[in-house]
Amino acid sequence: MAVTVIEPGLGATGTRRPRPPGHWQAARRALLREPRRVVGAAIVVIFVVLAVVGPFLYPRHLAANANSIYAPPSLVHPLGTDFEGTDVLSLMVTGARYVLVSGAVAGAIAVVLGALVGLLAGYLAGAVDWSLSRITDFALTIPQYPLLVVLAAVVRFTSPVLIGVLLGVTSWPGLARAVRSQAFSLRERPYIEASRSLGLSTRHVIVREMLPNIAPYVAMNLLVSMIGAIYAETGLFFLGILPTSNVNNWGAMLNQAVFSAGAIGSPQAISYLLSPLVAILLLTLGIVFVLDAVDEFFNPRLRG
């Protein structure tokens, strides 16, 4: 019996057809379409590089110098010095790792939990959906910052990864609700009904069939959750809820500047006070512009 094997990618003449533009190409095109997206990507890359190499550039304990407190920016101290005479640039550079690591951990956990709960509720429906939805509603009702203030006081974490875990497990419900409604509509699509009637396992349907369809949405939300987590984390340090001593974090810098060192009342401290604020703003700006590109990459209708 003759079996015709159709070679994928091979034309009638046996030569390779030109491949359709790949993901990388589409991503590059989406990025290069507007200059601000390139700027955004550059900002994000710079911060990531700082987070990776920053702590290796400076000694573990940054030197303080009582003779140059609130020094203005100079060649030695490009961003001036803080209330102890420590170089502000070195604080910023070494602080980037903490901020980004906990942001990334939190974003990843929030996205995984949110997508999982949303898909399970939307696909299984019935009693599972009912109980997962009640839990989601409940978690959405509790105001985030007051809850974090209370939780942070209970757990007293200091490591960036654990803070990331804390922020991640408190910020999934929004995504879960959105994914659930998408899963509900996916559920009725013929190909899902087909896989269900083939008797494929729930795990297969959810991971292999439904997840790829909501992947773009989840990818966007990874960035959004990361921004949220970075705010929450620097905010908690800023409030002094997380211990600020011996921690290099922009929020801890701001806490000392505003509440204990009195930098907020002193015009000389301008570069010290503004540095963490500008860093947070720059990072936000970078991520917002990159999101714009990601949005276009995943929504072909926006292209054009």
Binding site: F138, T141, I142, P143, Y145, P146, L147, V149, V150, L151, A153, V154, R156, I227, Y231, T234, G235, F238, L239, G240, I241, L254, V258, F259, I264, G265, S266, P267, I270, L273, L274, L277, I280, L281, T284, L285, V288
Partner: protein, 351 residues
């Protein structure tokens, strides 16, 4: 629906009595869910506080001993502060806590020398509600009107500038706004007072100078709140208007040759519906939504009280603030759901 089936969609909007009964049942169900949620939050808070490293009661007891108070007196004082005897098993303490909660008794504060927590929370609430409500109104009016403009003019420069401003303003965290405004207008350009919600030289009360200083000191906090929430309103209104603009009735209005202003009124009324719910929910979230602004400007509101209670390990006050803030959100949820049925007839019929 098959073509031969009669149009039997029973819309019993008619007789008022039945409608009110249905609304009442709906409200009752919502309130019941709300009560269950409040009890769940209270339970959560109780067990959180009691799983804290370093039993707060033990800590307080040791502080008193360290101050030279005799052990028996210290035990007595600690018991008085918490309103329960700490030697009871946890489940009994929980029962007592919930029983007191039903009587609106949240225990006594540790730091404020045994003042009832309910009293402290209620006296902090106006310091949160008044500035935040003002900021909410300002940002809502500004964001919604500019959002409508951004949607109608979305293809030209003005629309693009407005939506980018929305994304950026929305992206900046509240504490960044607060610190920047405080530094700019109290230190670099000292035109506003800093560090007190009113001029301490004025005597508090209903007199002109005091009220004036209250309003004057409130400008920066209100501005910080308004700036931090303006972007969200702009973006929400913009996307809502864009959605409505695609509806058939807009095209119909245009084809009928209605004046642009009339068309805009049609669009605005429909685009506003989803924002109404968000507005009511924001009213709930505002109780706990200004922690950063209160900290920076030394406003003795609920967020400020919560952070201080946490830092001072005043657990009864901490639980009380947290519970109050959560109850406000739950109440606003119920209210939003209920009022929505009044302003959107489609929901009323479907109910």
């Amino acid at each position: 629906m098959s073509p031969d089936s009669p149009p039997s969609v029973k819309v019993t909007t008619g007789s008022g009595k039945a409608r009110w009964a249905r609304l009442g049942r709906r409200l009752g169900a919502r309130v019941l869910t709300g009560v269950v949620m409040v009890l769940a939050v209270a339970t959560l808070t109780f067990f959180l506080v009691h799983s804290m490293p370093g039993n707060p009661i033990q800590t307080e007891y040791q502080t008193l001993i360290a101050r030279g108070v005799s052990p028996s007196l210290a035990a007595q004082q600690v018991a008085g502060m918490y309103g329960f005897v700490s030697s009871k098993p946890l489940i009994d303490q929980y029962g007592q806590y919930m029983w007191h909660l039903l009587q609106f008794n949240l225990g006594k504060s540790i730091t404020a020398s045994g003042e009832p927590v309910v009293h402290l929370v209620l006296s902090a609430a106006p310091w949160t509600i008044i500035p935040v409500l003002s900021g909410l109104i300002v940002s809502f009016l500004l964001g919604v009107s500019l959002g409508a403009v951004a949607a109608v003019r979305r293809t030209n420069r003005l629309g693009k500038v407005l939506s980018v401003s929305g994304s950026l303003f929305h992206g900046v965290p509240q504490f960044v706004w607060a610190v920047m405004l405080a530094y700019l207008f109290t230190t670099l350009l000292p035109i506003f007072p800093f560090g007190s919600p009113y001029n301490i030289l004025d005597t508090p009360g209903w007199n002109g100078p005091f009220i004036l200083s209250l309003v004057y000191s409130a400008i920066l906090p209100v501005l910080a709140y308004a700036l931090s929430s303006y972007g969200g309103w702009l973006l929400t209104m913009r996307s809502s208007v864009v959605t409505v603009l695609g509806d058939d009735f807009v095209l119909a209005a245009e084809l009928r040759g209605l004046r642009p202003l009339t068309q805009l009124r049609y669009v605005a009324r429909n685009a506003f519906l989803p924002l109404f719910t968000t507005l009511l929910l924001s009213v709930g979230f505002m109780f706990g939504g200004s922690i950063f602004i209160e900290e920076v400007f030394d406003y003795p509101g609920l967020g400020y009280q919560l952070v201080n209670a946490v830092n001072a390990r005043d657990y009864p006050l901490m639980s009380g603030d947290f519970l109050f803030i959560t109850v406000a959100v739950i109440a606003a949820n119920i209210l939003a759901d209920f009022l929505y049925t009044f302003i959107d007839p489609r929901v009323r019929k479907a109910a």
